[in-house]
Subunit: 205 residues, 2 copies
Amino acid sequence: MSSRREISLAERKRQLVADELTEAALQLLALKGFDGVTVDEIVTSAGVSKRTFFRYFASKEDVVVQFLADMGTGMCAELAARPAGELPSEALRHTVWVPLGECAEHSDRALRVVQLILRTPALNARFLERQARWRDDLAAELVGRLGLDAGAELYPRLAAGMALNAFDAVLHLWSGSDGAEDPAALTDRAFAVIAPALDAVVGRG
Amino acid sequence: MSSRREISLAERKRQLVADELTEAALQLLALKGFDGVTVDEIVTSAGVSKRTFFRYFASKEDVVVQFLADMGTGMCAELAARPAGELPSEALRHTVWVPLGECAEHSDRALRVVQLILRTPALNARFLERQARWRDDLAAELVGRLGLDAGAELYPRLAAGMALNAFDAVLHLWSGSDGAEDPAALTDRAFAVIAPALDAVVGRG
DNA sequence: CCCCTCGTGACACCGAGTGTCAATGCGCTA
DNA sequence: TAGCGCATTGACACTCGGTGTCACGAGGGG
């Protein structure tokens, strides 16, 4: 009977350590910048060993970028959940709004993290890597969604790329304005620009 | 009178060392993969010290990505050189074709390098970083080109992003097909998809 | 009560990247 | 031709990110 509890307990312990680590890391990184903080400082502040840090995060960048990990899966799930008949531009706009809405919600912490990521080359690179993975997932979802044959590999990839491109632009403008700009309005304006390309395919076939 | 010659000689020596380094690196990397080769192996093969390597390249990734360095400046120059009245989709299609055409030209070496970059996460990340810089440059060029005011920051960024997105998609398909796909045809098809969004702005104002 | 497993810390180690300094080569000038 | 100045290089030590290994302790099951 303890197997369920044991797993749950272990899971909670893991989560506890992970939270402690991210908390310590985010505080130090926001204070001294990404390159100004060593992993040893982080683990000393969190009270664990360096080896343990790398058991929880694959790299020093990961402790920041992991913060946005579930956004990708959330986006893909949202796209899968959109009604079948919806226009691509509408479906993708809602899809991209999932992580953006989260940012707007806890704008206090999210803004600092996003600004740290966008102004730190190493973090930005990791972020772009992650976006590339999201794009592939969204493209695959689009193929199934629109019933395209496997030969038409160009449109889904471009459509997913355009959506994430809009996502990226909104994030930059929001971060650059220190949160003054409204993400929802920016998203609407961005999708107004790209919608003609997104929806042209349904008009042609 | 020797100042010109001296500079020229020094320049040529620098170029010689750089070429030797990239040559040795590319050969080893193509053979054993990015993570399977250390910088020490490269410099031993090239006959210089490790310190010298890092005087020529900022990082181990750079020795590969630098291979595509002038592509960015070439693209920006091409966009600046396009006729003023040209539609954005046309101007950007020619812009993106500059690096693609180079790839198609020396497809033997370019293909191996591109494949190495796209399948190596660390190299891919650097490549995406570089693309982000290109996107900013292209966006700035578009602002001047279309006479947009500084307030409309959304369209130029999205347009440049879409163009580079198409560039990236073409590169992936070309690389994934081992060079079998025709880059020119892929580029045309990709821009046929995104053109409605690219040119909508001139129809509206 | 013993065993087994899992998480952790400690330690050594590798590889990327940097700072520093001495030596070398080369053009220039007296 | 001798000497000066500048740029490039090699050698070395060092920091830091990241990994492999092992021994230890806690906790749970037989």
